[in-house]
């Protein structure tokens, strides 16, 4: 696009972001401050993720953008189009084809592989913020690894609901050191972060923080000995592809209470359907 630099940001800004990313990779889970820029969309729409993506994207990358698992929602479409116009790189909806995936609130069902980069959009990066409003104090708590109060939150869940009711943005400890908020992904996705072959980068635009999980890094979800970490489970299978082990969204069909559960990861669902899998409400597709 004329008049704009490759990937919208100027080269100095991208260098600054890359430096922050390098530092973040070197200290897994540690929040690195960076000079977050104004972007041509509002805070809360993924400005942090976009800046990280802009910092790492190259001409040969193939970009996929998902929002709540779907490639076709407004946020995903507009961010994908933004990068298509400012970089001209190839975009895709296929997890396997992508080299760079920017995501809001999900990790793709299909395991990622070495060489891929997953960029998360982060609204609030500080896991200790709910208990401690002072940034100076939370930094000290991270520095001294004083993470006991995170369990207070889980304790409250169990006391109130009989189980750990936190279901998304579930806190983890990265590399046995830093406490980290994984962004509002469902806790269903937490196990995927552990020892993932792909590089995971997190960008928070308003809060001006970047953090990272390098490939093959231990990521442990907090829990109690007598209330171990568990992921969500459904009684149903995906209505379209019949998947028994993917994260399902509830879709209301009509005003009479009709509903169905379908994969939140649209690419995963479609790939399965094209492979011949079919759910109770799906239609048989010819295998390609």
């Amino acid at each position: 696009m004329d008049g704009y630099n490759f990937a919208y940001l100027d080269e100095q800004t991208k260098r600054m972001i890359r430096r922050a990313i390098l530092k973040a990779v070197a200290i897994p889970g540690y929040q690195v401050p960076f000079g977050s820029r104004e972007m041509p969309l509002p805070y809360g729409w993924g400005t942090g993720g976009i800046q990280v993506t802009a910092g790492v994207i190259g001409q040969d990358d193939v970009l996929k953008v998902i929002d709540q698992g779907a490639d076709d929602t407004t946020n995903a479409v507009s961010i994908r189009r933004f990068f298509a116009r400012t970089t001209g790189v190839k975009t895709t909806e296929k997890t396997t084809e992508a080299t760079l995936i920017q995501t809001r609130h999900r990790i793709p069902e299909r395991p990622l592989s070495e060489g891929q980069i997953l960029v998360y959009q982060v609204p609030i990066p500080e896991p200790l913020r709910w208990l401690e409003p002072r940034e100076t104090e939370t930094r000290k708590m991270h520095a001294l690894q004083e993470y006991g109060i995170m369990h207070v939150k889980l304790y409250e869940d169990i006391a109130r609901f009989g189980r750990i009711a936190t279901s998304y943005d579930y806190p983890v400890v990265v590399n046995d050191r830093y406490l980290m908020k994984p962004s509002p992904i469902p806790k269903f996705d937490n196990p995927k972060m552990d020892n993932m072959p792909a590089l995971q980068l997190f960008g928070a635009g308003r809060e001006k923080r970047i953090y990272a999980i390098p490939p093959y890094t231990k990521v442990k979800s907090l829990d109690f000995d007598d209330h171990p970490f568990e992921i969500q489970q459904w009684d149903e299978n995906c209505a379209l592809c019949g998947s028994e082990n993917s994260y399902l969204d509830e879709v209301v069909m009509d005003d009479q209470g009709g509903r169905m559960f379908v994969c939140s990861d649209t690419d995963h669902c479609e790939s399965r359907q094209s492979d011949g899998h079919v759910g109770p409400m799906g239609t048989q597709q010819a295998a390609e």
Binding site: L131, G148, I149, H151, Y155, R160, D226
Partner: protein
């Protein structure tokens, strides 16, 4: 008499805020199981002294040496910050005048009591809850309230909860800043009785700052009277109160209203 090592040894402690004097020339030893009362009027420097002793602020000069469980006597201001913070949430307690400053009002009573346990690595919900239950009983809070946030408690209950929250890690030294301030007289009496019992039973060493001489008489073994940042008189509690030597202490004692 054979004496044990002092638990806390304060040497020539002083704190000034620029030209303004907070406290100066304070030296004393606190022995295991001893309750030391610091009395004086507002502005006498007793709170500044307490804040220095409890590592809330750094003194301008002097030493605060604590007999740590692991490494023996250490100047708390020579420790690394992580060591000091660990000490403060395990072997020390800090009971603040306003329980709202010492509690997490948004989380349940049980979590308030359990927090220190979780901070030092307790990871079994059932165990934490049992300990919290025990402590609520010890401070006379109905265990049926364990899941209620302290914002729904009365002032006296909040103060008792704050005490439980501090004592749950079985600290050896507890700092108390006007623990009965702002409470009704009957509520104060109950709290004092509770504190007396806990201090005796657990063999706690306590530094208590108060302007209430009746509280000092009931709880403290020994008194330090402060005025204008200096210790003007110290000694056995009943001796200081019944036969004060310094003009200021005489004035203080004679100023009390007798009911």
């Amino acid at each position: 008499m054979n004496r044990p090592t002092p638990l806390l040894s304060v040497q020539d402690l002083g704190k000034s805020y620029g030209p303004h004097l907070g406290c100066t020339d304070v030296s004393f030893d606190l022995w295991p199981g001893e309750v030391l009362g610091i009395v004086g009027e507002s502005g006498s420097g007793k709170t500044t002294l307490m804040n220095c002793l409890s590592a809330q602020i750094e003194p301008t000069c002097g030493k605060v040496i604590y007999d740590t469980r692991m490494d023996g006597a250490r100047d708390i201001f020579d420790m690394s910050e992580s060591e000091r913070r660990l000490l403060m949430r395990t072997d020390w307690g800090l009971v603040k005048q306003n329980p709202r400053d010492g509690l997490r009002l948004g989380v349940s009573a049980g979590a308030n009591v359990g927090e220190r346990l979780m901070a030092v690595g307790a990871r079994h919900y059932g165990d934490i809850r049992n300990v919290a239950n025990d402590w609520l009983k010890k401070v006379e809070i109905d265990v049926g309230r364990i899941d209620n946030p302290p914002s729904t408690f009365s002032g006296g209950m909040q103060q008792r909860l704050q005490i439980a929250r501090n004592l749950v890690t079985e600290p050896r030294l507890v700092f108390m800043d006007e623990p009965t301030g702002g409470l009704d007289v009957s509520v104060q009496a109950r709290l004092l009785d509770l504190l007396r019992g806990l201090v005796n039973r657990l063999g706690l060493s306590v530094v208590i700052v108060t302007h209430d001489l009746a509280v000092a008489r009931l709880l403290a073994h020994r008194l330090m009277v402060m005025k204008d940042g200096r210790v003007v008189e110290q000694g056995l509690t009943d001796q200081v109160l019944d036969d004060p030597q310094h003009a200021y202490t005489q004035l203080l004692v004679s100023s009390i209203l007798q009911p």
